[in-house]
Symmetry: C2
Subunit: 431 residues, 2 copies
Amino acid sequence: MASTWVPGVTGDSPFSLANIPFGIITTQFDPAPRAAIAIGSYALDLKALSDSKDLTKLASSLKGHDSVFSQPTLNAFAALGRPVHREVRKVIQEILSAETSHPDVLKNDKELQEKALIPQGKFKTHLPMSIGDYTDFYAGYHHAYAVGVMFRGPANALQPNYTHLPVGYHGRSSSIVVSGTPIRRPVGQILLDSTAEPKQPSTAPSRRLDIELELGCFIAKPNELGTSISIEDAEEHIFGYVMLNDWSARDIQTWEYVPLGPFNGKNFASTISPWVVLADALEPFRTKGIENKTPLQDYLKESKADTAFDIELEIDLTTSEGDTTTISTTSSKNLMWSFPQMIAHHSLGGCPMRTGDLLGSGTISGTGARERGSLLEMSEGGKKDIMLHGMDVRRFLKDGDTVGIRGVCGKPGERVGFGDCVGRIYSAVQN
Amino acid sequence: MASTWVPGVTGDSPFSLANIPFGIITTQFDPAPRAAIAIGSYALDLKALSDSKDLTKLASSLKGHDSVFSQPTLNAFAALGRPVHREVRKVIQEILSAETSHPDVLKNDKELQEKALIPQGKFKTHLPMSIGDYTDFYAGYHHAYAVGVMFRGPANALQPNYTHLPVGYHGRSSSIVVSGTPIRRPVGQILLDSTAEPKQPSTAPSRRLDIELELGCFIAKPNELGTSISIEDAEEHIFGYVMLNDWSARDIQTWEYVPLGPFNGKNFASTISPWVVLADALEPFRTKGIENKTPLQDYLKESKADTAFDIELEIDLTTSEGDTTTISTTSSKNLMWSFPQMIAHHSLGGCPMRTGDLLGSGTISGTGARERGSLLEMSEGGKKDIMLHGMDVRRFLKDGDTVGIRGVCGKPGERVGFGDCVGRIYSAVQN
């Protein structure tokens, strides 16, 4: 992979020339949300670039679609399909390459650079997509098993359906927020004494506020009501990926979730990273997921073996005193179900996927003590302290804590990463 | 209530002058979706009416919002809030009244009538709202109890949380369709032999395709992330109501639903009636719901006693031979939780409700054998035949069956009803 002429792109930057993730930005001088890509610490304003007509000249598949980058979400661009995303990413890589054969487009055009190449601190990122429906799966086998042991013991940790289908539930799209959005500790019904009979709930701020480390997948190509997406076609329906923190209030969830599943324990907020890493950018990092020995139904059988991605994942917890501890390090290969399997299953009965719909992988955990994707697991159900720097400990989140999750693949200088997926906890408001 | 000068409004019409429900229509000569109200068998085109400027002259709160009726959904109108809905409804009632004091607006303006008053058969109805999130509650006590007995026996029929909070789950908004849309029988994973161990699913068309008779509630006024809606304010957040048939595939649901709730068993289709009955139109039909003897948390306590509506509900099943049987008759008062309670609970932790969000009541059943809101209950878990006219029987739906649900209140000539909420079953497509 060539290097870029854009200044200050360090070896560790998640936004190397090998990446080119897409997002939505605003600036002080142009408050209209519009599309951009991230390169090093800069955002490249795609509206400015396509206004100059050079982008559509080089990326012929964009012809007639000049306006997609002037819109406040990436949905219109996503809807153009993967061949278009592929061409546009390649053209942008070419324009930004140190050895570009089109230096006039941007490299030597200082005036356009001034307008289109916006340094960190001068732009704000927003939710990249208008999200119709959000579905959260449960494909992190080690997470599902560990949580199952806590609730039902090792013999019945996983339900009989777990290895036959990618279990998932419908989430709440209205509370999906972009990295940096403050997270208000939710108030909810909780059992202060879970052993007392009869059960008597109280209404109080959650005492077991947790995180869930997930990979999110955005849908590009829709299917019609009453039709399904075959597993062979599913990859063509994917736009790209983000990091996802599905904040969870375990005490609210425990009391409410029977028999219809999680509700207020989950719907108060989910944070995503602002830059959508295109499906093509992750292709070089394919690997095997967790082996599923159960014979699968035909509609879930995949022809390729490497259906997961080996993205290095980390969770940082920063206390209000400013001490940061990396409390978990794992990989996104710890999934038993692939996104194509999730898409094939989700649409099997004819459910329409729409451009911009978000699928969450479910919490991703490894098997080791410091490889867990939730505090619930790290603290063994809230029974054990998680050690932090600065002599501090946690079982669940305190007000003032900031959690950041990171995902990155590739060698220094060629990193493909997701950038920030951060949220800080603010104290609950009680009416 | 006065009568209307609009011709042919029969005593039995659900769309009397006392109703004035809002919807979205298209016509052959103007295929652009736009707002209308229903009166008798006519649609009154509100775009045409507001183009004539008379509507905004009479409804002063519409000033500056002339375009709300030219849009393809009612969201912009709904977002204006209940005082505006109330005034617009009153003005339309006045214009359409036989004794109108503004006969020039429409009654005597044959040219505008020709344009704006569109007879049945000349217009098509569409989804009235752009639905961000769909939440389905479980407030039908008799349904929850009857289904609980089937699954867990009478002692544990209801979970301990049931009387403390309105249990609900996030549904799928992408598959909500308007009355008349064909319903494709879903394919899914089912256990053909549920007693065999280990469990071995097959992929096949659902054999237990069912209906759920529900009342749907559309949100008008949004709340911000991190804030909640108090129960006193909740009524002001409601736009209006529709009939809702939440089609369900019981065999898919039974196998998939542990531990995270219903998924493919529900997300293939939900049908709503096309006309939104405004909250104000249902006010005269308030009544008590099912008594909840459990002491409630403060945020769920209501000051008024009549928190349910006494809407007469009916389910018709029409076979492919054309024989129609009314298989159920019940009332929407059979709910233990009110919509204000659902809204207060849903937003308690700070979850944002958006204009156009849909809340389902959950299946509404009475206690008698012919008062059930689902075939699962009528057939006692699929064990007993439901008798139909024409010597036919059902336990679940057959291909070619048409199900219509109806809801109506009020005296002849002053009916407030919902009109059609109909869907016909088409055979599954297997890849």
